[in-house]
């Protein structure tokens, strides 16, 4: 299992997720992403992931794609 496959399988394996969106830019990327559709992560792997990135956390806030507009303009808080 590659890192790419694990990353996508992690999303797909969540029972609340219907579909994981992959965003390939190259043919190489899509061909390395496709196998993830049929991978099930073991409880051991999921536990290890939880140790590295705890549930409910985002290590780098810049990875969050959306910032509430109410937090960006100081005038909204004054």
């Amino acid at each position: 299992m590659t890192l790419v496959e694990m990353a996508i399988a992690f999303v797909v394996n969540h029972p609340a997720v219907t579909s994981a969106i992959i965003g390939p830019r190259t043919m190489h990327q899509i061909t390395t992403q496709l196998p993830a559709a049929d991978i099930t992560l073991s409880p051991e792997v999921l536990d290890r992931i939880d140790q590295i990135v705890a549930p409910g956390t985002t290590p780098n806030p810049f990875d969050s794609a959306y910032v509430n507009p109410a937090l960006t303009a100081a005038s909204l808080r004054r």
């Binding site: 996508i8 999303v11 579909s19 190259t26 559709a37 780098n60």
Partner: protein, 255 residues
């Protein structure tokens, strides 16, 4: 490839969705190469394709539309509106005025007569959700759009949209697309606490995906999740949005 119902619509989508933000513009300007990637995805069993009007200013929709010619009916096609589509201040947003104009632009770029899933790309605090849902409901009744969705909604906004749809007899959204990945495990706000159906993800594939790509490992994934798949022990979203009794006043305040 595995297939799951998109929410409770009964429409089955693959558990991988082809995101198309990397097609066109500065990401991949080779339209033939982009089309080949799309065909590779379809040949592998992916039947769910997601784009947006803002991706490379409409170029992504054009690439997708061209690549799907002849295969359109085999694909659940999703796109979005709300982002800036030019300097004109009303060529953006979630107003009826913009929605009725931009859906025609997306249909033209996609080369199709209907959009399977039409999504509000981001919450729009300046627009009443009832205005947005009413305009989208008209599109559904016209046959231009089949299902509604949203993206980057907080749990409270998901519930408000469901409530507004029920309250006003409007078409209710069936999906939410959000950031969720190995590197973004924060449910937006109290989404998890609300135990709606939550995590989807999509834009985030950008951020997380690019970071992975920088490390020479290609991209990670985002996730799209649909409303309507409650976990064991969880309440269904619709159960959380109880109908009001006759005469009962609405208790949600708009802020």
């Amino acid at each position: 490839m595995q297939y799951r119902s998109l929410g409770d619509t009964g429409v089955h989508v693959s558990n991988l969705c082809l995101g198309t933000m990397m097609f066109g513009g500065v990401n991949n300007a080779d339209h033939d190469d982009c089309a080949a990637i799309i065909h590779t995805a379809l040949d592998a069993g992916i039947n769910f394709v997601d784009t947006a009007d803002v991706y490379s200013a409409g170029e992504s929709e054009e690439i997708v539309g061209k690549a799907l010619q002849g295969r359109r009916d085999d694909v659940v096609l999703a796109t979005k509106f709300q982002g800036n589509m030019g300097d004109e201040r009303n060529h953006r947003g979630a107003s009826r005025r913009w929605i009725v104009a931009e859906v025609e632009n997306s249909l033209r770029r996609l080369g199709t007569d209907h959009i399977d899933l039409y999504q509000l790309h981001r919450p729009n605090p300046g627009t009443n959700i009832e205005e947005t849902l009413a305009a989208l409901t008209d599109l559904v009744r016209q046959g231009k759009v089949l299902y509604l969705g949203h993206s980057a909604f907080q749990a409270s906004q998901i519930v408000e949209a469901q409530w507004a749809a029920r309250d006003r007899m409007l078409v209710r959204p069936v999906s939410e697309q959000l950031s969720y990945s190995l590197l973004v495990r924060t449910p937006r706000d109290r989404r998890a606490a609300h135990r709606t159906a939550a995590p989807h993800e999509r834009d985030l594939l950008l951020a997380a995906g690019r970071r992975l790509a920088e490390r020479e490992v290609a991209q990670g994934g985002g996730g799209a999740s649909a409303l309507g798949r409650p976990q064991a022990g969880q309440r269904h979203l619709r159960d959380a949005v109880r109908p009001r009794r006759p005469g009962q006043r609405r208790q949600v305040r708009r802020g």
